[in-house]
């Protein structure tokens, strides 16, 4: 009996210890390094597997490109050279996982900055980034809620999506007509868009049909929802979700004989959509300006480098471009602040860093100021209208304030 | 005194009658047997008494109390236990655990007693163990108590099934072919076990094919055929009853193959 119990005891505690070992392993895993000041880890947690994987990958490419270029140019923080290093973790789009990842990046990899490309995740991370552990969130989402949270260590990169609603509505109305059908995706973000478009459209004096939003991710055949939307005989349709499904919806609508104009949510990129459907199906629609249409000093080189990295076929999107800019800004802010491990200082230094950033990093509408709440503002924000002969014409956008 | 009173009991499955106008009195302290060819409705009768099936006609009353529509749980709690034709034990458990399971119906203590370790809980647990051991010993299989049910010989399993039933402290025990599958030479001992039940205050209603055994055991015998009463009486009468002989021999013939 005793012999049994002893061996048993050993076994069970062994099993238990295994847990502890695993833990310490993670604790040490990838850790260290950054302390010496020569390497600084930029953390990234995003959807690298599961439904959002493609999106997460696009962001990641932008980060990698920026870090490669910055290291090539050399970053120098108060006197000594610094190498940036990207450490990315997969959160499968789950906010709580994202927060755990961020915590891990901050604790083990001493990352002063963690990039996250999704509103839910950012909200979860904001619970932990300014308290017992401190790190700056480089937030890639156009949901103003995350700056409304008044988190001292958040930098919001893209423009507030609410800015688009008004211009989109007017443009679409003049090329289409007064009756709008809603066919956006059933995601958090899609629904917020739908709402703001609704308001803007009725403000501009248009009529709105029923809300036919569907979950682009789970619908196996778009024909149904489209037929339903068209049955209301709209002059314009609001669509948008990931580029490719959005493209399919527009194609289906054209197939079913829709002649009017499209309002395309910023998540979908017209040029990326052109890779899965004929450009004809996309004409007469207003959306965000493709990266390739920007005329910023760095854009051309950026496009070349992107093609080398991701292949000719892949279309560079603002997820990639804006995060490329974002890291450049942060690196400059580190230099300006003279520190790589004090998030507050880095955050403060951003505004003085902005004008300092090298032109090569200005690729997709570069910001010239950062608001109190931490929102990067691009002075001349532009959207685009894809006209009947497949040309992108620019549409200047007036930016709205982030406050509720 | 009449323990179980069955009146004009009937059960229809779809079109056909499994049991039809069967009436039977089981006297306290007696052993009553039900015999009949296969598909004569013996097991159905058991299931009706036990509450597995709901009768479509007639009434059953136990100790003067109507139990025609009571659930198995209520029947068992009321004092009627049963065993199955095919030995039915919890195979991966030891015999003791099996018999202890029979105590569940007599356990009052609930989760909270268990969690807060109340005196009631302690009292009950030890009572349960004693009763279970007693039942095992009574059935003469105590020495196997730690063997897995699947590892012991047929006869021990059969006896354990009885012990498990006894653990529920029944006043009436329904035995469905208790000696089925037991080698002839052991049926005698097994018969003795059954015969000793009434002294324990447990009346018995059993279905059995082994005629020799029945004739030696039963005080009263009910003969069923096609779900209906063919004859009722003491062993002697039954043996001499021509209908019975016809029906029964007929059926034993088909049982051979």
């Amino acid at each position: 009996m005793n012999s049994v119990s002893r061996s048993r005891r050993r076994r069970l505690s062994a099993a238990a210890v295994l847990g502890a070992i695993a833990l310490t392993a993670t604790a040490c895993g990838g850790g260290g390094g950054s302390g010496e000041g020569d390497t600084v880890v930029i953390g990234y947690t995003g959807p690298l597997s599961g439904g959002g994987a493609a999106y997460g990958e696009n962001v990641k490419i932008g980060l990698e490109m920026a870090i490669d270029d910055l290291n090539a140019d050399g970053v120098e923080v108060d006197g000594n050279p610094v190498t940036l290093e990207l450490k990315s973790l997969d959160d499968k789009y789950a906010p709580s996982t994202a927060a755990s990842n961020a915590q891990r990046l901050a604790d083990q990899d001493k990352a002063p900055v963690v990039v996250s490309p999704n509103a839910g995740a950012i909200k979860a991370i904001q619970q932990i980034n300014s308290g017992r552990s401190n790190f700056l969130i480089s937030a890639y989402t156009s949901d103003p809620a995350i700056v409304q949270a008044d988190n001292p260590l958040t930098m919001m990169i893209p423009p507030n999506f609410e800015s688009y609603a008004e211009e989109f509505s007017e443009t679409a109305m003049e090329h289409g007509g007064k009756k709008l059908a809603l066919l956006g995706t059933q995601s958090e973000y899609g629904q917020q868009w739908t709402k703001s478009i609704k308001d803007a459209w009725s403000e501009a004096g248009g009529k709105i049909g029923g809300d036919n939003s569907v979950d682009y991710a789970t619908v196996s055949d778009f024909a149904g929802p489209v037929s339903k939307a068209l049955s209301e005989k709209p002059d314009a349709i609001f669509v948008g979700g990931p580029s490719q499904p959005t493209a399919l919806i527009m194609e289906e609508a054209r197939k079913q004989g829709f002649k009017g104009s499209f309002l395309v949510m910023d998540q979908a990129k017209l040029d990326e959509m052109a890779t899965v459907t004929k450009l004809d199906n996309l004409k007469n629609s207003v959306g965000v300006l493709p990266v390739s249409e920007y005329e910023d000093p760095g854009t051309e080189d950026f496009l070349k480098k992107f093609a080398e990295k991701a292949g000719e076929k892949k279309v560079p999107t603002s997820e990639t471009a804006l995060n490329y800019q974002g890291i450049a800004i942060i690196a400059k802010a580190m230099e300006a602040a003279g520190t790589t491990d004090d998030p507050e200082k880095i955050r403060e230094a951003i505004s003085e860093a902005l004008p300092e950033v090298d032109d090569k990093y200005k690729v997709n509408g570069f910001p010239d100021e950062i608001t109190e709440q931490g929102h990067l503002l691009n002075p001349n924000l532009e959207a685009t209208f894809l006209n009947e002969d497949g040309k992108y014409t620019k549409v200047p956008i007036e930016q709205v304030s982030d406050d509720k | 005194m009449t323990m179980l009173e069955i009146r004009d009991l009937g059960k229809r499955f779809g079109g056909l009658d499994a049991v039809k106008d069967v009436s039977l009195d089981v006297e306290a302290g007696q052993i009553t047997a039900v015999i009949g060819p296969n598909g004569a409705g013996k097991s159905t009768l058991f299931n009706l008494v036990h509450g597995f099936y709901r009768p479509t006609a007639g009434t059953i009353s136990f100790k003067g109390e109507d139990i025609t529509h009571s659930s198995p749980h209520r029947t068992v709690a009321g004092g009627i236990a049963r065993t199955f034709q095919t030995t039915n034990l919890f195979d991966d458990s030891t015999l003791l655990e099996n018999v202890l399971a029979g105590r569940i119906v007599r356990s009052k203590s609930n989760v909270f007693d268990a969690v807060f370790h109340t005196p009631r809980h302690r009292r009950e647990s030890s009572i349960n163990e004693d009763k279970a051991m007693e039942a095992l010993e009574f059935c003469g299989v105590a020495e196997y108590r730690h063997d897995l049910a699947s590892n012991v010989p047929q006869e021990v399993q059969k006896r354990t099934a009885v012990a498990m039933a006894l653990a529920t402290e029944p006043e009436l025990l329904l035995l469905d072919e208790p000696a089925g599958g037991i080698p002839e030479e052991e049926t005698v001992d097994f018969g003795n076990l059954i015969r000793s039940l009434p002294q324990r205050g447990v009346s018995v209603l059993l279905v059995e094919h082994k005629m020799t055994m029945i004739m030696g055991l039963a005080d009263t015998i009910l003969v069923l055929d096609h779900g209906q009463k063919l004859a009722l009486g003491a062993p002697a009468e039954i043996q001499s009853n021509p209908d019975v002989i016809r029906a029964y021999l007929g059926s034993t013939a088909q049982e051979e193959n």
């Binding site: 493609a54 059933q186 055949d221 024909a223 | -």
Partner: protein, 304 residues
């Protein structure tokens, strides 16, 4: 509010008839896909008694392999589907050998988790090979048909027709061919089957292979009207389970009726009530039906 609007719409809307026809065909096409996927799953259940949660992953894999042969290798559409179907048949057999066969005596909890593990693996694999990006699969079948004023794309007609043909062939296979009969035999009675000398593990392999094959055909058909992504199977998975449970586990007619019924219910509720309800309807129906008929509509002698 949305409800009332939907309720009024028919009255106001002149194209109500067209819309209905349109949606009916969309529903039928969707139903065809659901059936093909569900049949395989229900067969697997009938024979192996396991809810194969990896079915959606097989469907996804089938789509990608079809895509590979069609786009990358450049064989004709039908051939691509054919080749993919055969390859998936092999994958299915492998899955049975490596995962389900070792578990044949374990409770279904184990199967489910093992299947989930396999699913994770397949998805990660697909992403590793083809990347996370959505892929579009072009089909030679183009153009629309006008039916009572409704625009129906040829692809959808093809889906419906193929589904019917495949189902017919399957029925024939099961009734006529030895293998088919053994499958049916085992479905009805494992023990009996093994007594008359049928080799269950042989049949198990066959069945899983067959289910993967059917899933691939479904995927190959639907891929052109949707997109490929490593997670494309997820949405389908739950629905297909709802279908086979609704129809009664292991029942082929159940799966067919359930498939079309749920598909049409889905499109119609999405049209006349709301897309959110459309998404949930499969499960609401399921809960409702099982609440009344705990063993599904076409219960077979599946349960012990």
């Amino acid at each position: 509010m949305r409800l009332t609007r939907a309720a009024l719409m028919p009255a106001e809307d002149p194209t109500i008839m067209t819309l209905f026809i349109q949606q009916l065909f969309n529903g039928l096409a969707l139903g065809g896909v659901y059936c093909l996927a569900a049949i395989g799953l229900t067969l697997v259940f009938g024979v192996l008694r396991i809810p194969n949660l990896a079915h959606g992953a097989l469907y996804m894999l089938g789509a990608y392999i079809t895509y590979f042969f069609l786009t990358t290798v450049g064989v004709p559409y039908i051939a691509a589907i054919g080749i993919a179907a055969i390859m998936l048949f092999i994958v299915g057999v492998g899955l049975e050998r490596l995962v389900f066969h070792p578990l044949r005596n374990s409770p279904h909890t184990h199967h489910m988790i093992a299947a989930v593990g396999a699913m994770f693996f397949f998805q990660a694999l697909a992403q590793a090979i083809w990347g996370a990006d959505f892929r579009r699969m072009d089909t030679p079948i183009t153009g629309e048909l006008r039916i009572l004023g409704a625009e129906i794309s040829a692809q959808r007609i093809v889906i419906i027709v193929t589904a019917v043909i495949v189902l017919a062939l399957l029925a024939l296979f099961i009734k006529r061919s030895i293998h088919g009969q053994t499958i049916e035999a085992i479905e009805q009675d494992r023990v009996g089957a093994s007594l008359v000398g049928i080799n269950p593990s042989m049949v198990s392999m066959l069945t899983l292979g067959l289910s993967a094959l059917l899933a691939t055909i479904a995927a190959g058909l639907v891929a052109p009207i949707n997109l490929l992504s490593p997670t494309m199977g997820d949405a389908l998975n739950l629905k297909v389970f709802a279908i086979i449970i609704l129809g009664g586990l292991g029942s082929l007619p159940g799966a067919i009726v359930g498939g079309f019924a749920l598909a049409i219910a889905e499109t119609m509720t999405a049209t006349y009530i709301s897309s959110a309800v459309g998404e949930a309807v499969a499960f609401i129906v399921l809960v409702a039906v099982l609440a009344i008929k705990p063993n599904g509509l076409f219960t077979k002698a599946v349960q012990r």
